[in-house]
């Protein structure tokens, strides 16, 4: 019997026009060359938000593209979910600002949630709950991030990896006999919180003049405690342990083997990590999205940007079962099967 099922209906992304290329990095860091950066990270260039350009601006631009595509009108959106870790303000909620700028109805729900690389899959889970409970018919999920604003210019360990960007995803109800979004698995391990963190700026540690002073840290990188810190080796170790377990749990919940997955879109962390994960899980190269070259790691926007690209290239078609896996800061992870309607 057909029921109203939540499904991904459309995706549009937006990258800021500011760019940071490998040639730029090689010029700044004398002992790196552009080809080596591309080889290790899979990234050639990254979008960088302008000083006055915030996550809301990127998210609004992505949503405007979605509306211009004809996927839906602003007045058809019942709920706005806005995922970012670089909000415009502590308060008000960025989603409220975005509701006004996009011209969404005033009886539209809107909330922010603070997650990083797992945020898109979490957002899909929240959207599914809203739709299948009958609370909303159409949910606009915006994932938008400007990590570059946290990064010290002399910390190449993170500067080479992260890019700014946003995606707007329309999740809406479709009459279907089978689930079109799900099952989901979620996971959290806060013991790893200190391995990917901006230590100063929230209420735990308010900014002081001392905190703005950068010092030389491991590997010759410079940063202050107001900047982003990532312990890359520990993040890799966590990922290689947690992601295969999450994939196995998801397949058990789905009651189908991994060969039944038509395509895999994982969080685009970096090429090295993704290749190790793909090999460990035994996923064929042609079923695995790996494309960071023109945007870098855009945190919660990487999976929808990947889905948009895979759809445009015909790698995903109507009826495809796609495994989505997000993992990172928190530690936090989530995985889901999305059937393209």
């Amino acid at each position: 019997m057909k029921q109203l099922r939540a499904a991904i209906r459309a995706i549009s992304s937006y990258l800021p026009t500011g760019r940071l290329t490998n040639d730029d990095l090689a010029r700044e860091y004398g002992d790196w060359d552009a080809a080596k950066i591309l080889d290790k990270t899979g990234i050639a260039t990254r979008g960088i938000a302008a000083p006055e350009e915030c996550a809301s601006d990127l998210g609004v631009a992505a949503a405007q593209r979605l509306f211009e595509s004809g996927a839906c009108r602003p007045d058809e959106v019942d709920f706005l979910l806005f995922c970012t870790q670089s909000p415009d303000y502590f308060l008000p909620t960025t989603a409220c600002l975005v509701q006004d700028r996009l011209g969404l109805r005033r009886d539209c729900g809107a909330l922010d949630f603070n997650l990083g690389c797992s945020g898109f899959v979490y957002g899909l889970g929240l959207a599914k709950g809203l739709i299948e409970s009958g609370a909303a018919a159409s949910v606009l999920l915006i994932t938008a991030e400007t990590y570059s604003k946290f990064i010290h210019p002399r910390d190449r360990s993170v500067r080479a990896i992260f890019g700014d960007g946003a995606a707007a995803t329309l999740v809406a109800g479709v009459a279907s006999e089978a689930d079109l979004l799900g099952p989901f698995v979620f996971g959290t391990d806060g013991r790893g919180a200190h391995n990917l963190i901006v230590p100063v700026g929230g209420m735990r540690r308010r900014p002081s003049p001392q905190d703005a002073i950068a010092t030389e840290r491991e590997g010759g990188n410079w940063r202050s405690d107001s900047n982003l810190f990532m312990n890359g080796p520990e993040i890799l170790s966590f990922t290689l342990s947690a992601v295969p377990k999450a994939v196995r749990s998801l397949l058990e919940a789905w009651h189908r083997p991994i060969d039944d997955v038509d395509y895999f879109v994982f969080h685009q962390a970096n090429k090295f990590m993704l290749e190790k994960l793909r090999a460990k899980l035994g996923i064929a190269d042609e079923k695995f999205w790996l494309s960071l070259e023109s945007c870098g790691n855009t945190v919660s926007a990487t999976i929808p940007i990947g889905l948009e690209g895979a759809l445009a290239q015909g790698r995903i078609r109507s009826g495809s079962s796609v495994m989505l896996v997000g993992f990172g800061v928190g530690y936090s992870w989530a995985a889901a099967i999305a059937t393209i309607a």
Partner: protein, 81 residues
């Protein structure tokens, strides 16, 4: 674990030139840049199914010490399973 074969793979993972690592090769600060740590963590996961931390790798004075640590970790895991 075939210690010699693992050392050959570790040499590749760390991007070192020949003659590569031997049991007595020191694993000092000159070895462990971020790419080397990533390569070693991935290799240990791939070959042995073990999760090692950067601190554990950096705490080994020689390549032989690292091999011994990995053998102990593997034995401990086998005993616990």
């Amino acid at each position: 674990m075939d210690r010699t074969a693992f050392l050959t793979k570790l040499t590749d993972a760390l991007g070192l030139d020949n003659p590569g690592l031997s049991e007595t090769s020191p694993l000092g600060e000159g070895i462990w840049d971020s790419f080397a740590l990533l390569g070693a963590i991935a290799l240990v996961d791939q070959e042995l199914g073990l999760a090692v931390t950067a601190a554990e790798l950096q705490g080994c004075a020689t390549a032989g010490d690292l091999l011994t640590l990995l053998e102990q970790r593997k034995a401990s895991e086998s005993a616990g399973s």
